[in-house]
């Protein structure tokens, strides 16, 4: 086998010497030429090509089949392929890419009819110096010189190092070695001949090459293919791969948004993001028709030209007219699929409906995406004039546009794997970052931001601060090494209070503020609506797992209104989500665990519709304490009933009604700014605890424990310490600080204390008692219960040796003896306590001593 590096020269020269005439003028034929691809794949359909050169000379007659077809597997010897391909610099290595582009090539090009071969052949712009191995030749209509381009790309592959890479595609690679050479090795081992190239890398390495790639993808990508294959087979001459390596660029920075596509992008490489809304059935697209003469059995192949097959009217062998018949199963087809992509909701301006774009996936990209997937698609943007109607002399003056996909990158999929920080990353302009940083440097940024939060809702400063911290969240930590698993970074908040205290409004505001917020109402949501359910997809008729609100708000905030109205079974799914941040599902044969790293912002109304200050939080909202203890902050939103407050409230409301928009905008940071601020902090700031801060936290925790121990109760649990840490981290994030410092801890302590003061105050004693939230009963209440039980025991003992007593009698006696009012409930509780001690049993109306 000849050395691949030597052969191209030969190949080029051949082409150069090729008479330019047949196709130099005819601009419409490039597809036919482009297609002379992989001979190996179709080698059994025709005599093995004697030499590539002959093959080239008679492209129309010779089989120039495509690859794509099912015939692919037929591919006998890879070595053979290389052998043949390398001289044909343009042909083989890139056949895959060409196949992909082919269907559109013929019809798309309008002004720039580019043909790689003919340009080389006639090269009008190129001072044709064939000896210099085509060094100065450029592809007609572009400024791409194949030789230089190839060299540059090979240099890029060999040298590009990206030490700071965090790309998930590069997982497991040595960052200090040339990245793409490692990938080639991977291809050699794995045998998947696709090389994904991040355009960002290319841009940083060689801006000019990048520009060429963007502007002339149709020419440059085949060149890249050639370069890669040469390089690859030079390195791994014995490698066996299914077909030659294809280069698939992605992450072209050209366009991110579907709405920005405009006629200038036609035929350029673009990357857009969107959501797949429909995929078609697989469309077998005829690439080449096989005709056989009915008379003499002479066969010929005709290629598709702009979506049509020109049926040969005359047999060239026997000159019979209309004798050629199409033989379907010897024709060659390629796979194609139409995909409808819709603009992502985030990209859309308000008040407009989303745009859609048609994307074609070819060959192995078919069925790579499903409806509902969020994807970034890199491809070539095409515009095709609507076909001339044979019966009509007029043309519709409209083009159809579509994108030929080269690379799919699912954003959704990665979310499930938890590597998403980056995909989320919003692109901030430097100017914006500067403004944000300036804002962060202000000493009162925390107050500013909290007052910018829901300005229409009056006061409740601490609640707003809490929600602000929730928006930022703590730092995500991973303890899976030590077996603890993830450490919750999300802050959960519960708001409870009188109806009509704008809780819902606050929830609505937060839901509108965060990019991935979900809003549900406890009354209307079922457990499956929150978690996940299995349903039949109307498109594919397959069972699919549909995720519910909690999973959808992964990395966002799930706002749950009417939390108290939720059924118990629904609430129970929250236990796992709110601490472990995962969601386990075992239904309909699907057993899985989904990430649900969501913050919960819930609102609950008191059971008696009005908050009863004489009762504890638990008694007021009747939620299980197991759930309550998972909230970091529980706030009461009560009507304060105080004159100064009323006055401020009135002023606030009145001004709301007459101030003009502009005035208010000056007063507060606008919502967009707040959004950006939060998004920036969430993606770039990861504060760590400083030494002093840790000491302060320890001290705070010990103090909290001490308070309780004085009165013989536990006033803090490790969960409270974790909450404190999260809050302190979030506060550091607000300041854009990488370190959690003492002031953060101070604020966290203050806020936590405030929340506790509101929610965990024992109405009987007036003390803050954390056990109200953690065990559902205040320590005093428990003590009271014990005392009552003892009193009852004493009462029974005082009665002397009576084996049985009347229930009602005992109750009356106890009541008469006690100086506080005793309800039946309390009495029963006391009886129960004694039963547990094995002191007595209750059967119906009689109490029996044991």
């Amino acid at each position: 086998m000849s050395s691949p590096s030597a052969t191209p020269t030969k190949g080029k020269r051949t082409r150069g010497s090729n008479p330019p005439t047949p196709w130099s003028e005819d601009a419409l034929t490039p597809p036919s030429r482009r297609r002379r691809t992989d001979d190996a794949s179709t080698s059994d359909l025709q005599p093995m090509p004697t030499s590539p050169v002959t093959d080239m000379r008679s492209p129309a007659v010779q089989d120039t089949s495509l690859f794509s077809s099912p015939a692919q597997s037929r591919h006998s010897a890879p070595l053979n392929e290389i052998d043949m391909s390398s001289p044909l610099t343009y042909g083989t290595p890139s056949s895959r890419v060409e196949v992909r582009q082919r269907p559109d090539l013929g019809s798309v090009r309008k002004a720039r009819q580019v043909d790689l071969h003919s340009d080389h052949a006639n090269g009008p712009e190129a001072p044709a110096s064939e000896h210099s191995v085509g060094q100065k030749l450029v592809i007609w209509g572009t400024d791409v010189n194949v030789g230089t381009c190839k060299e540059k790309f090979q240099r890029f592959l060999q040298r590009f190092i990206d030490p700071s890479s965090t790309d998930d595609e590069n997982a497991g690679l040595d960052l200090n070695e040339p990245l793409y050479m490692q990938k080639l090795e991977e291809i050699n081992v794995v045998g998947d001949p696709v090389l994904n190239v991040n355009c960002e890398h290319l841009q940083s390495f060689d801006a000019d090459l990048y520009r060429q790639l963007i502007a002339y993808p149709q020419e440059v990508i085949p060149t890249f293919d050639m370069a890669v294959n040469e390089l690859f087979f030079e390195r791994f001459p014995d490698s066996v791969i299914e077909h030659q390596i294809q280069v698939r660029p992605y992450n072209a920075l050209k366009t991110r948004n579907m709405r920005n596509l405009n006629p200038e992008d036609i035929d350029q490489l673009i990357t857009i993001s969107g959501m797949v809304i429909r995929t078609s059935q697989l469309i077998p697209e005829m690439q080449e028709a096989f005709f056989r003469c009915q008379v003499c059995a002479f066969s010929t192949r005709v290629e598709v030209d702009r979506g049509r097959i020109a049926e040969p009217a005359v047999c060239r062998n026997c000159n019979t007219t209309h004798s050629m018949a199409l033989i379907h199963n010897r024709s060659i087809f390629s796979d194609k699929q139409m995909i409808k992509l819709q603009e992502s909701p985030e990209d859309m301006p308000a008040g407009q409906t989303p745009h859609t774009t048609v994307v074609y996936a070819h060959n192995d990209l078919v069925d790579k995406v499903q409806p509902g997937d969020r994807v970034n698609i890199t491809g070539i943007y095409r515009a095709v004039p609507i076909r001339l109607n044979p019966r009509q002399s007029n043309v519709k003056s409209v083009y159809k546009t579509h994108i030929d996909a080269i690379h799919f990158r699912k954003t959704h999929e990665k979310r499930l794997h938890g590597l998403d920080e980056e995909a989320e990353e919003k692109l901030f302009t430097e100017e914006r970052v500067r403004t944000l940083r300036e804002l962060a440097a202000k000493p009162d940024v925390y107050e500013r931001l909290s007052s910018a939060l829901a300005p229409s809702i009056y006061e409740h400063e601490d609640i707003k601060k809490g929600i602000l911290l929730q928006l930022f969240g703590g730092t995500r930590k991973d303890f899976s090494q030590t077996g603890r698993g993830g450490f919750r970074a999300e802050i959960n908040i519960l708001l409870c209070g009188d109806p009509g205290t704008s809780k819902s409004q606050l929830l609505q505001y937060v839901y509108n503020l965060v990019p991935r917020g979900q809003y549900t109402s406890g009354k209307g949501s079922s457990a499956v609506g929150l978690t996940a359910y299995v349903m039949k997809d109307p498109e594919t008729r397959q069972l699919v797992l549909q995720t519910g609100a909690l999973v959808l708000s992964d990395n966002g905030i799930c706002c749950i209104d009417e939390f108290d109205k939720m059924s118990d079974s629904t609430r129970s799914v929250l236990h796992e989500v709110m601490e472990q941040q995962t969601l386990s599902i075992a239904k309909a044969g699907i057993i899985c665990q989904l990430n649900a790293r969501t913050s919960v912002l819930a609102a609950a109304n008191p059971v008696e519709s009005q908050w009863n200050p004489k009762k504890t939080t638990i008694e007021n909202i009747q939620l299980p304490h197991t759930l309550l203890s998972r909230f970091d902050l529980i706030f009461l939103m009560l009507d304060p009933q105080d004159e100064a407050y009323d006055r401020r409230l009135a002023h606030h409301l009145v001004s709301l009604y007459y101030q003009s928009e502009e005035q208010l905008e000056e007063e507060f940071l606008d919502m967009a700014m707040l959004k950006d601020y939060v998004a920036y902090a969430r993606s770039y700031i990861e504060p760590r605890l400083s030494e002093e801060a840790s000491q302060a936290l320890i001290k705070a925790y010990v103090d909290m424990r001490k308070i309780g121990s004085g009165r013989g109760m536990v006033s803090a649990y490790p969960r409270q310490l974790e909450s404190l840490i999260r809050l302190a981290e979030a506060h550091a994030k607000v300041r854009f600080s990488d370190k959690v410092e003492t002031i953060d801890v101070e604020e966290a302590k203050r806020l936590h204390r405030e929340a506790l003061k509101q929610s965990a105050t024992d109405p009987r004693t007036g003390f803050v008692d954390i056990s109200i939230l953690t065990t559902g009963m205040s320590a005093t209440a428990r003590k009271r219960k014990e005392e009552l039980a003892q009193a009852l025991k004493r009462l029974i003992q005082s009665k002397g040796k009576v084996p049985t007593m009347k229930y009602q009698q005992l109750f009356d006696d106890l009541r008469a003896q006690s100086d506080v009012a005793i309800t039946k409930d309390m009495f029963e509780e006391a009886l129960q306590a004694l039963t547990d001690e094995d002191y007595l049993t209750v059967t119906g109306k009689t109490v029996r001593l044991l």
Binding site: A27, P103, K110, A111, L261, P263, I266, I277, R278, I283, G307, P345, G351, Q352, T353, H355, T356, V358, P371, A383, V384, P385, R387, N389, P390, Q392, S393, N394, V395, K396, S397, V398, Y399, K400, T401, H402, A454, P455, S456, G500, S502, Q508, Y509, N512, G524, D639, E643, D646, R647, A650, H651, L653, V654, S655, L656, Y657, Y658, E661, L664, M671
Partner: protein, 628 residues
């Protein structure tokens, strides 16, 4: 005077002229726009332009300038078209540059050279527009009367399109054709029918008709938001600044009408053997929606459009112009209106007062998620099982430009599509009842409620109504996600007891008289109203919405004091919510007498009204313990 009307009859000729003169300099487009803007400046001239709203499509000349008062129901994807292209005359080989703007079809009696360097591809956007949903009959009438430009006397046609006879249809095809040929001379205009083969026309017309009838199993759904609407739908092609328009805007579009049958032919080819592989991009449904027969859904190439602040024909487009003159007799008109509505509401003056406030309310601003200025009214105590609510709606419809009555019967709730939904198969937004233009009145008739179970659609519909009332937004269903569209719809709920929907203000109707025959009673009131007075009412209600409003420092202080005082006596008596409502009532009360600032008196009056109203509710509570 044919030259004057040239720009109406043959606008494309003018476009071509300007294009030819400009020698491809890019500013020809602005010249075209300026030309037409200049022409249309004159109100008189604008009224010469025939309106698609009044004249059926088949009476209008193809490629003439028409106007259309419409509502943007959906936005299709932008399309790329041949902005400038070159045609080659096969005999002489001479090349001519042409502009493809404002046209659907590139005329090529000659061959089009797709590959020339001079070709320019441009982008345009298509809006799917329908007549303004719920437009009252008097508005339509009034507009069409003020528009003298009628191509053919309207007496000769039956408005129902389905009954159109074959002859008429032919007429429609050939008539503009003939007219055009007469006009074609001087400008050397383009004849879109190519060589004008009359035979083709004859064969074309029936085929497209049969296509409409047989090819599609159901008649084409024109996607009107409200059931039972009629009128032309239109694909409006927008060339400039389409970002400025939004779904649900109401516009007056001046544009070139295009009804070329070629446009609908495409779908006909569908089953022929020549199926282009590229054609599989679009499903049959999608084709039907995006390329409907031009005779049903004409194309309109926008030359000039302006967003309408209102669709009240009695007011000039910029409502503020009229305000100064009218404001003088606002008080007297208000008195008359109050009297009228009191009669209609069976002698309940308080309810009439609140009804006026409701009718002039509008969302004037939004503070983050909170819409300000909305005033949803719940009139409870409407007699069950009677036509009273219907009568009441008729009266309201007489007064305001657009409205819709939604009977909340179980059947309606379970079956109607209230929220627009994206149909991905046809790639369009299926409209729903709640897709309404700003300032439309939605009359919810809760007296039609009956016993039964709401299914999931019903629950969703009720939730959507609740959202609409509390946040003035509708979450359109995009299957994979929801999208929030802010709206501005006045909701009036007529119910027997207190409504099950949230509302800003609940007034218990207390009829002072009980006429034996309600229907007769109301119609007598309506008849006794003089048309000029009725028009005054209409102007009054539309105009007051547009006024600005402010509160002075002084009054702010007073209001604050008042609030604190009230709270001191009884904190339960007034909450923040009540203050919100009080402020809205005070605002609307001031506006209703033409005052743009709040005075102490008005504030006291607002408080007084509120007290009267709440007392009534309290009373009701005592009478009927069930009512919350």
């Amino acid at each position: 005077m044919p030259t004057v009307h040239d720009w109406i009859n043959n606008p494309l000729g003018i476009v071509e002229d300007i294009f030819a003169q400009s020698n491809c300099s890019p500013d020809w487009e602005t010249k075209v726009l300026e030309y037409f803007k200049e022409k249309l400046k004159d109100n008189e001239a604008a009224s010469w332009v025939p309106s698609l709203n009044d004249v059926p499509v088949h009476y209008l000349k193809a490629n003439s300038l028409v106007k259309f008062r419409c509502f943007i129901q959906d936005m299709f994807d932008p399309e790329f078209y041949m902005g400038v292209y070159e045609t080659v005359d096969p005999s002489s080989k001479s090349k001519v540059l042409r502009s493809g703007k404002y046209k659907d079809v590139a005329e090529c009696g000659h061959q089009v050279d797709l590959n020339t360097k001079n070709a320019v591809t441009l982008e345009r956007q298509t809006f799917y527009c329908v007549p303004i949903p719920g437009e009252s009959p008097w508005v339509k009438e009034s507009y069409s009367c003020s528009n003298p430009a009628r191509v053919v006397p309207s007496t000769s046609y039956a408005p129902c399109r389905h009954k159109r006879s074959y002859e008429e249809d032919e007429d429609m095809e050939t008539q503009p054709h003939k007219q055009k040929e007469q006009l074609a001379g001087p400008q050397g205009t383009t004849d879109i029918h190519g060589s004008g083969d009359p035979k083709r026309l004859e064969t074309e017309a029936p085929s497209s008709l049969s296509n409409a009838a047989s090819g599609c199993s159901s008649p084409l759904d024109l996607n009107f938001p409200l059931p039972g609407e009629k009128g032309p739908a239109c694909l409006v092609k927008v060339y400039e600044e389409w970002e400025l328009f939004k779904v649900n805007d109401i516009l007056e579009v001046y544009g070139i009408l295009s009804v070329d049958p070629v446009l609908s032919v495409i779908s006909e080819d569908k089953d022929s053997s020549l199926v282009d592989p590229m054609d599989c991009t679009e499903s049959v449904e999608e084709q039907r929606v995006h390329c409907p027969p031009a005779s049903l859904v004409p194309r309109l190439h926008m030359l000039y459009a302006h967003r309408l602040q209102h669709n009240n024909p009695l007011l000039p487009p910029a409502a503020s112009e009229a305000s100064s003159g009218f404001l003088n007799d606002v008080v007297s008109v208000r008195g008359e209106l109050l009297g009228y509505l009191t009669h209609v509401l069976l002698g309940d003056a308080l309810a009439a007062e609140y009804l006026i406030l409701h009718l002039i309310s509008t969302v004037y601003a939004r503070r983050d998620v909170l819409p300000l200025g909305k005033f949803t009214l719940n009139l409870s105590g409407c007699p069950h099982n009677s036509t009273y609510t219907e009568q009441l709606y008729r009266v309201i419809q007489q007064l305001i430009p657009s409205s819709f009555r939604l009977g909340m019967s179980l059947h309606n709730m379970n079956n109607l599509r209230l929220v627009p939904r994206k149909d991905y198969t046809a790639n369009r937004l299926l409209s729903g009842v709640l897709q309404l233009a700003p300032n439309t009145s939605l009359f919810l008739d809760e007296t039609q409620l009956e016993q039964g179970q709401l299914d999931s659609t019903g629950v969703r519909n009720i939730t959507a109504l609740g959202n609409l009332i509390s946040w003035q937004k509708v979450d359109y269903d995009f299957n994979y996600h929801q999208m929030e569209f802010p709206c501005n719809i006045n909701v009036l709920i007529a119910s027997e007891g207190k409504s099950l929907l949230p509302c800003d203000c609940h007034v218990r109707l207390q009829p002072q008289l009980a006429p034996p025959n309600l229907e007769q009673y109301i119609s007598t009131i309506q008849v006794s109203l003089s048309p000029s007075l009725l028009n005054k009412f209409r102007i009054y209600l539309s105009l007051l919405r547009t006024l600005d409003y402010s509160i002075s420092e002084e009054v702010t202080k007073a209001v604050e004091d008042d609030f604190v005082e009230m709270r001191k006596d009884d904190p339960q008596s007034i909450s923040a919510e009540d203050l919100h409502r009080l402020l809205v009532v005070a605002r609307l009360l001031s506006l209703s007498v033409g005052h743009t600032t709040l005075s102490r008196d008005r504030w006291m009056r607002a408080k007084h009204l509120e007290t009267l109203r709440t007392n009534r509710t309290e009373q009701q509570k005592c009478v009927n313990g069930n009512e919350p």
